[in-house]
Structures are given as structure tokens and as C-alpha cells.
């Protein structure tokens, strides 16, 4: 409860609003511009044995997705950080609550997404040869 006096955070709120707006403008700008050097992956997958597989896994974000999409996802995570930390005041909660909420969601979502996207691209590779594009 608010028994102790709170100082006003108005300045910080407007600063965060500025950052969020700037990021959104950058996203829209790149979304319209779509520079060609960001539209195809920078590396091609490593071929070969075990170490190639490890390399593909570690450098996967440069091999399997467009750099532009990685850039958008990174900016989105930055936006999410600012919203959760400064608008939802997560920075003022205790470490225990913060980790209970943030770690649970982040790790579960990464786990789920990784499996589903691997599965999705496998299904895509498996069915696409059977789709007819010649009439």
C-alpha cells in the first residue's frame, strides 16, 4: 500500500514512450524499404557430420531466417522489455516474482517455438514436392 511518498516518474514515462515510438517507426521504415541485403540469409547451411549440425544450430539465426526478420524480432523483444519493465513496473517487483513470471514465459515460449518451427519446416519440405504447379 502507498504509505510512503512516491516521487513522480512522468519524465521516465515520456522517455519510454519516445523509445517505443522510435522503434515502431524504424520497424515500419524497414518494413516498407525491405533492403535487399537483409532479404536473404547471410550464410548457407553447413554440410557434413556432427559438427556441421552443431554449427547450424548455433548460427541458425544467420542460416535459416532472413536477417530482416531477425532484426524485427530483436526490436520486438526490446519493445516488450520496455513495456514490461517500465510500464508494468516489473523493475520494482522483487527478484522472485520477476523470475517467476519472466523466466517461466521466456523459456517455455522458446522451447515451444523451436519445436513447432522445426516441425513446420519439416512438414513443408515433406509435402511441397507433391503440390502441383504445372497444368
Amino acid at each position: 500500500m502507498t504509505t510512503h511518498a512516491h516521487e513522480s516518474h512522468t519524465g521516465r514515462i515520456w522517455k519510454v514512450f519516445g523509445i517505443l515510438s522510435l522503434i515502431t517507426i524504424i520497424e515500419v521504415f524497414f518494413g516498407i524499404w525491405k533492403p535487399s541485403f537483409l532479404m536473404s540469409p547471410w550464410l548457407s547451411p553447413f554440410e557434413g557430420g556432427f559438427f556441421a549440425a552443431i554449427g547450424n544450430f548455433i548460427l541458425g539465426i544467420f542460416i535459416f531466417i532472413k536477417p530482416l526478420n531477425f532484426f524485427f524480432i530483436a526490436l520486438t523483444v526490446v519493445k516488450a522489455y520496455y513495456i514490461v519493465w517500465f510500464f508494468m513496473h516489473m523493475s520494482e517487483e522483487t527478484k522472485g516474482l520477476r523470475r517467476a513470471v519472466v523466466w517461466s514465459s521466456v523459456f517455455l515460449i522458446i522451447y515451444l517455438t523451436t519445436l513447432m518451427l522445426i516441425e513446420g519446416s519439416y512438414i513443408g519440405d515433406a509435402i511441397s514436392p507433391y503440390v502441383k504447379w504445372d497444368y
Binding site: V28, G31, T76, V101, L112, M116, S128
Partner: protein
């Protein structure tokens, strides 16, 4: 074992919110854990969308060619409207956090005005989303569906998509719309399209500069493949019907799953915005009545603010995955 220990006001119970584990009150902590579960629900939906996108990665519709409307402007304006919607929602988040900030200082007047602005922002966002849905459902160009379900769009000599009505032969359509009144059973048929399939095909044959765009992406350009004239005519032999706009079974933009996920995820998010507005209005009325002033704590405003910011947070991800990527 004492079965009623939860009712007992001993040190072990939460005691009506008096005890604060992790220095968070009962209501706030439960709001955080509700948000955690809701975040996992949304990530489940978005991940399912990702699965379908990776599955159909060689045919998925390009967002810029679908969401290209802006109020009072004609032509092709991708991104701007959804960017505007994002700004509206971020700004309503700002007014919400300003209301929370004013609540910490027991400033009833400012809490009132900032919450009012937040509600207005929420309604504006919901209205924009309704307009977006209207355009998506109505469609603008029209397309043809083939016997095996693939969607064919029409392009002019410059490779720009054109509306079916711009080249189809005109004249009365022989088919009549099946209405409830004139059938044996009380069910009505689909709305008849503005042009019939044969009119579109006749118009296409008459105009040699036209060609068709198929769903398949060209790996070299990352754009939809535009067929040569001869191949286009072979594709059109297989055409089944004219498609306008979008519903859950078919849409003129391409893959059916694309429309389904758009309706489901933006609809679920819109439902969250709607419930956020309603909760905001309830708290706003309580602020006006002075409930929290008497209580000497505006913590309820903080709790509803948490939910409202979460709605904004989800939109940030929906914006990225539906419109940018």
C-alpha cells in the same frame, strides 16, 4: 490436519491481502500470474501460426499485398494503418501508466482524466480493428479459386494486381441468389459475386495484356510468381469459382489458414481489448465515485493497468508476426 486453515486468520494464510509474499499484494500477484498464463495462451496461437507459415513457406500470402488500405486514401498503402493502430495502443498505454503515476500521488483529478484518455484510446483501437476486418472480409480485387483450392489473382502488364471487375465482361448474371423463401429447406446460399466466372474468363481471353499471379513464391525474388500467357490459360481451365474477400473457408489472398489465423488471433486480441475497455470503465466509475480516494490507495488502477499493458504487449508481437515478417 485442519481443513479450514485457509479461513483461519493465522499467520499461514494470505489474510485478506494483508500478508504480501514477494512484497506483492494478493491482487497484483494474481494479475501477474494470470498474465503469465495468458501470455502462454497467445504464444500457443502465434506458434501455431508459425508452424503453418513454415509448412506453407513457399506459398504464404505477402502481408503488404493484403493489408494495404488507409482511410480516405485510394491505392496501395501497406503498413501505415497498422502502424497508426500500434501508436494508438502505445499511447493509451502511456496515459494508463500516467494514471497509475497520478494514483501514487493520490491525485484524483489526473487519474480521472488519464483513465478517460486510456478508454478513448482503447475504443479508437477497437474501431480501427473493425475497419481492418471490414476490408479483409470485403476484399477489393477478387480472385479465382481452382478445382484443387489454389487461388489465382489477376495482374496487368506491369505486374500490378487488378480487380476482376476492371476487365470482366459485363452483363446480367444468369444465376439467381438462393434465398430462404424460395427453397425447400430454410437455408440461404452464398452472396453472388459481382461478376460470374464465365464473365471473368471471357474478359481475360479478350485482353491479351493480362496475366495471372499464382500463390507460389518465386525463390529468386521472394515475390509471387506471375505466369506467362499460355501457362495462365492452362491454369484457368481448372478454375472453379470467383472468390471475393475472406471467410473461414476461402479467401482471395491465398492460403485458407492465413485468413483463419488472422481472424482467430486478431479476434482473440480484440476480445482482450474489449474486456480491457470494460474493466477500465468499471474502475473509472469507481475513481469518479471516490472509492479509491476513501481507501487511500489506487492499487486497483495499477491492477487494471497491468492487464491493459499486457494487451499492448501482445499487440506488439501480433504486429511483428502478422504484418512485418
Amino acid at each position: 490436519m485442519k481443513a479450514t486453515s485457509a479461513l483461519d486468520s493465522s499467520v499461514d494464510s494470505w489474510n485478506g491481502g494483508g500478508k504480501e509474499p514477494l512484497k506483492a499484494s494478493y491482487g497484483k500477484m494474481m494479475m501477474w500470474f494470470f498474465i503469465l498464463s495468458d501470455a502462454l495462451t497467445f504464444s500457443g496461437f502465434l506458434t501455431a501460426y508459425g508452424l503453418m507459415r513454415f509448412k506453407f513457406s513457399d506459398t504464404w500470402p505477402i502481408a503488404d499485398q493484403v493489408f494495404n488500405h488507409f482511410p480516405f486514401l485510394h491505392g496501395d498503402h501497406p503498413m501505415y494503418f497498422v502502424a497508426l493502430m500500434t501508436f494508438v495502443l502505445i499511447f493509451s498505454s502511456v496515459t494508463m501508466v500516467l494514471a497509475v503515476d497520478a494514483g501514487h500521488r493520490q491525485d484524483k483529478k489526473k487519474v480521472t482524466s488519464y483513465m478517460f484518455l486510456t478508454i478513448i484510446g482503447g475504443i479508437l483501437f477497437l474501431g480501427s480493428q473493425a475497419w481492418e476486418w471490414k476490408n479483409f472480409i470485403g476484399g477489393n480485387m477478387g480472385a479465382i479459386q481452382m478445382n484443387d483450392g489454389k487461388i489465382i489473382q489477376f495482374v496487368n502488364a506491369d505486374g500490378k494486381q487488378i480487380a476482376l471487375t476492371s476487365f470482366a465482361k459485363t452483363g446480367p448474371i444468369a444465376r439467381v441468389k438462393h434465398e430462404k423463401g424460395n427453397g425447400i429447406w430454410f437455408s440461404s446460399g452464398e452472396d453472388l459475386p459481382e461478376v460470374s466466372l464465365s464473365q471473368v474468363l471471357d474478359g481475360f481471353k479478350a485482353n491479351n495484356s493480362l496475366s495471372v499471379r499464382i500463390e507460389k513464391l518465386d525463390p529468386a525474388t521472394g515475390d509471387k510468381t506471375i505466369l506467362g500467357r499460355a501457362q495462365a490459360e492452362r491454369f484457368l481451365v481448372e478454375s472453379k469459382r470467383v472468390v471475393y474477400g475472406a471467410n473461414l473457408k476461402v479467401n482471395e489472398y491465398g492460403n485458407t489458414q492465413f485468413g483463419d489465423f488472422f481472424f482467430f488471433i486478431t479476434g482473440f486480441h480484440g476480445f482482450h481489448v474489449l474486456s480491457g475497455i470494460i474493466i477500465n470503465i468499471i474502475i473509472f466509475v469507481n475513481v469518479l465515485l471516490g472509492t479509491y480516494e476513501k481507501r487511500k490507495s489506487y492499487e486497483m488502477v495499477e491492477k487494471v493497468a497491468l492487464y491493459w499493458h499486457f494487451v499492448d504487449l501482445v499487440w506488439v508481437f501480433v504486429f511483428t508476426f502478422f504484418y512485418l515478417i
